[in-house]
Structure formats: C-alpha cells, structure tokens
Symmetry: C2
Subunit: 122 residues, 2 copies
DNA sequence: AAGCTGTTTAGACGTTCATCTAGACAGAGC
DNA sequence: GCTCTGTCTAGATGAACGTCTAAACAGCTT
C-alpha cells in the first residue's frame, strides 16, 4: 500500500542545509513536492492530527470527523501527503490506518533549521 | 517596502509542536501559507540562494541569472516569499537586495521537527 | 449471497497558480 | 531633460489544485 515517491534521500543532499550550498534544480524539485504537500490548511491539520498520536496510527474515520469537508476530499488530501512521502497507511479489515514518516518531516525541518540558524548567527 | 503578513507569531501557537496538540484551523491556515510559499522549486532555490549568503543580502540581478525563467517571474516568486513573511527586501539605488527572515523559517522548521522527533521516540 | 459501512476512485467545475509579453516605474549618468 | 539599465506591475493563458457528487471497491455481518 506504499507507493510513495523516492523522496528525502539523504545521499542526494536533501539534508544538506541551504546555507552550505545552494540547492540543485533536481533536489529543489524533490523537496518542493514535500513543502507543497504541507501548503494546505486541511493537509497540515491532517498531518497534525496524525502526528499528535505520537507515532501511532490514526483511523481515517477519526480524521474525517474533524473536518467540514467530505470524505472523498479527506481521502484526496491523504493521498497527496502519502505521495509526498510524508505519511503511509495500511488497511486492516474495514478500516485504514495512517501514520507519519518521521525521516521525511525531519529532512524538511533540517533544511529550514540550518538555513535560519546559520543566517541568524552570522 | 515590507508589507509582510503577520505570520509566525509565537503567541498564536505557531511554534507549538504538532505533537503536543493539533493545530487549530486558523493557525493551520497561517502556517500553510508559509509552506505553500516553499512548495515551488524556483522559490525553494531562490530562498536557498539567499540563505547561502549567510544572512547577508543578495541582489535580484544575481538571482535572475541563476534561473531559466524571465525576470518578471523571478520578481513574482520573490513577492510570494515576501508576502509569506520568509524574506524581506530594500531598494538601494538601482538595485534591490533581499535577505531571509530567520524567525519565520525557524518556526516552520520547529513544527516539523517536533512532530518527527516525538513520533520517532515513542 | 446480500446488504451494510468505511474508504477510495472517477469525473466535473470553479479557483488559483506559474509563466509569459508588454509596459510602467526608479535611479544613474550623460 | 533624455536615455539606459534594473526591477516591478498588469494582463493573458494554459496547467494544476481543492472540492464536490456519483459510483466503485473492500470487508464485515447476517
């Protein structure tokens, strides 16, 4: 059930802070896909709800209840997050459970952190 | 020259890790604006080039040369980054200089970091 | 197997976005 | 003042996005 894209490979330089060298076009495209996935309020709240479970899994039914949008819309947003490599899911019986992928979020976090810290210091 | 939006106010909870409590709709909308600004390869590279200056300023003319797109397109992307509160600029004579706003990047970084770390631990 | 519930897929529709060209604006220098 | 260069604004256009309804799919239960 995890057809996620090959994102956030450390070797490609995704974890390289912005500050040490500027991003290549390929790497930027890769990372931008992750940030773009975070660039919607519904998706950010979805991720937040999943992350708030402390690394555990969350059933879609719980997520759907927390929003004003329809089920299919939630499903669409979860798919975007999954294809960006930020979350993954598994079906168990009737229900589908989602969880976050810490490494992916960590890579994005590091990129921003490094650049902001370095900029603040000098 | 800085008509940036009131983003990343710590008091609003922007720095609150995802993991401790889930984002409210308002805060999520606010933060999503920042991530959306990062969700384009050109903008990410622009930010990278500016950040790579180590907190110093970069002239637009240097940025334009590094991309295949036209000047107006670069100007548009810089405006998006500026309106998201991630960078700011100032005109000095003929040239316009841009620099990053570390606090804004730091806030976004923290959000992702907290959630990924906490998720990894438990 | 028939029906029920949870979830995803398909397709449509209006909005937003990234990019371009053309033109306006801001300073510098002649 | 005129012109030249650097930068931004305005408007147009095609692509991508967010949302919906309708329908399909996956398991459970009886």
């Amino acid at each position: 059930m995890s057809k996620q894209l090959p994102l956030y490979d450390v070797k490609t330089g995704c974890c390289t802070p912005m500050v040490s060298e500027s991003l290549t076009e390929d790497v930027a495209t890769d990372l931008a896909r992750g940030f773009k996935a975070l660039g919607d309020p519904v998706r950010l709240r979805l991720l937040s709800l999943i992350a708030a479970r402390g690394g555990g899994e969350v059933c879609v039914c719980e997520l759907t209840d927390a929003f004003a949008v329809t089920g299919p819309t939630i499903s669409h947003h979860l798919r975007v997050l999954r294809e960006a490599g930020l979350i993954d899911c598994e079906r168990r019986g009737t229900w589908v459970y989602y969880w976050i992928i810490p490494a992916a979020l960590g890579a994005l976090s590091q990129l921003l952190d490094a650049s902001s810290v370095a900029a603040a210091v000098r």
